[in-house]
């Protein structure tokens, strides 16, 4: 029976000690410990989430860079193509122009030559005509003494001259 009767002294000290431990730990122990454990686990979770997010963002950035790079390469290629096309064009144009100019010059030269030749021929003709006339005059002055045969010959000669002139 002695075992089942609580001893006053022990109850007394038990109440004091337990209350003290409960009060002190309840104030300075448990709230700090439990609070900090919770805070730490929250922070770990948060940090992992953030790290994942950052990784995802980094991967996104890499893809973006790659895309931009590819785009730039394409653009460069296109520009080069365009440039070479333009160069060809310019060269072709220049060539065409040059050819055209040369042709023009040639034509003009030909024309000039033709003109000069015509003029020369005209000149020659007039001179030849004049010469012929003078020659004829001289011939006529000697032989043209009124015979008929002389007159006919003159007419004939004139006709020939006219035909040749026309």
């Amino acid at each position: 029976m002695e075992l089942l009767t609580p001893d006053f002294g022990l109850v007394f000290w038990m109440v004091i000690c337990f209350t003290a431990v409960l009060f002190i730990l309840g104030k300075y122990g448990w709230p700090v410990i439990v609070g900090m454990i919770n805070k730490r686990s929250d922070e770990i979770e948060e940090s992992i989430l953030k790290a994942n997010e950052a990784n995802a963002r980094l991967a996104g950035t890499n893809a973006e860079t790659e895309r931009l790079l590819a785009e730039a390469k394409n653009e460069r290629l296109e520009l080069l193509k365009e440039a070479s096309k333009q160069k060809d064009q310019i060269i072709a144009d220049a060539k065409a122009e040059a050819a055209k100019k040369a042709q023009d010059l040639l034509d003009k030269a030909k024309e000039d030559i033709q003109l000069e030749r015509d003029n020369a021929i005209k000149e020659i003709r007039t001179q030849v005509a004049e010469l012929s006339v003078s020659i004829a005059e001289k011939v006529v002055r000697e032989k043209l003494t009124g015979d008929k045969a002389g007159l006919d010959m003159i007419n004939k000669l004139l006709d020939e001259v006219n035909i040749a002139k026309s």
């Binding site: 002695e2 075992l3 409960l22 410990i33």
Partner: protein
């Protein structure tokens, strides 16, 4: 194998005092029997001195308040080893008398108000100090570097704290967890530390196997459950439960059951812890005592050796079992306290709002 032999050696060293004590009894009583009952009760009960080994006992201060007012003296003044002397009108009542083993007044034989620092009180102080030191030092570390990985005491205790907090207190208490978790955590670690201290033989305390200790713990649970946790609805349910009228009138059957239940819950807590811890200690002591009973009755011989080996094996088994029980009992006490608190925090059902 190495670890096993180490454990055995440690256990043998730890149990040495009991063996020595038993031997002492054997010698003092000559060819007589070993008083196993006294051995067992001497251990599980309380005493005014801290008996360490053989004749060595540390006297502890006695504080009594009797007819002559307050008196403080060392227990060695009252004699030791079963031969008590008188001091200042006080003595320790002998075996067979009322209040046996307690300080009584010589003139009347009555008990004075006795708040002596007995063996159990000493261990109460030791365990309280240990708890404060352990938890305040780890809380300091949490406060300073909460993000650091736990080390030492902190690493050892954090899983336990988290387990009790998250797996026991939070699901059982439900609402207002932060209001009750300090109490429940204190209860858990207080019981656990004292249980394990009780397992260390030279210390030989049996605080949680003492009804005074478990009663105080149960009273605390009772007070916290009913007065800190009990909602208005809880008290209303107590007096006027939602049951058919004939269960309440003319005989208030249900209210009576509810009110009795309010008291039986903590009483069950108190008795469960007390009986479990007491039984463990008694079992170990009886198994050890068996060795001496056999060696005296049968004589030192092969039979006695056989019994010794068997007893030692059983004691090792019991000690390991006790290691488990120490934790389980602390866990059960905390879980049930948390449940009672959770039950006390009832709110009116939806349809009554």
């Amino acid at each position: 194998m190495n670890l096993f032999s180490k454990i055995i050696t440690i256990l043998m060293i730890l149990f040495a005092p009991l063996v020595a004590q038993a031997n002492e009894h054997q010698e003092s009583e000559g060819e007589g029997k070993v008083d196993v009952k006294e051995l067992v009760f001497g251990h599980i009960g309380d005493s005014y001195s801290w008996h360490i080994i053989g004749d060595i006992a540390i006297p502890l201060p006695c504080i009594v308040y009797g007819q002559n007012g307050l008196d403080v003296f060392m227990s060695s003044k009252l004699g030791h080893g079963g031969h008590y002397t008188e001091y200042n009108g006080y003595t320790i009542a002998a075996e067979g008398q009322p209040n046996a083993g307690k300080i009584v007044e010589v003139s009347t034989g009555e008990r004075p108000w006795d708040i002596s620092i007995t063996k159990n009180v000493l261990f109460l102080f030791i365990s309280s100090g240990l708890m404060l030191w352990i938890f305040l030092s780890i809380s300091k570390r949490y406060k300073e570097d909460y993000w650091r990985k736990p080390e030492g005491k902190q690493a050892f205790l954090e899983p336990l704290i988290v387990m009790i907090e998250k797996d026991v207190i939070e699901p059982c208490v439900g609402k207002n967890v932060e209001k009750f978790s300090p109490f429940l955590l204190t209860v858990f670690f207080f019981i656990m530390i004292n249980n394990y201290l009780g397992l260390i033989p030279i210390f030989g305390s049996n605080l949680t196997g003492n009804i005074a200790c478990t009663m105080v713990l149960a009273v605390f649970t009772f007070l916290v459950t009913n007065f800190k946790g009990g909602t208005k609805h809880y008290w209303l349910e107590m007096v006027n439960p939602e049951v058919p009228l004939w269960l309440k009138l003319p005989i208030p059957l249900m209210p009576l059951i509810e009110i009795i239940g309010m008291f039986t819950k903590p009483i069950a807590l108190c008795i469960r812890l007390f009986a479990n811890m007491l039984a463990g200690h008694v079992m170990q002591l009886v198994l050890i005592g068996l060795i001496f009973i056999f060696s005296i009755n049968v004589g030192i011989g092969s039979g006695a050796y056989g019994v010794s080996i068997l007893s030692c094996a059983l004691v090792i088994f019991m000690t390991l079992l006790e290691c488990l029980v120490c934790f389980i009992q602390a866990y059960v006490f905390t879980t049930l306290s948390a449940l009672f608190i959770g039950l006390a925090q009832v709110e009116p059902h939806e349809e009554h709002k």
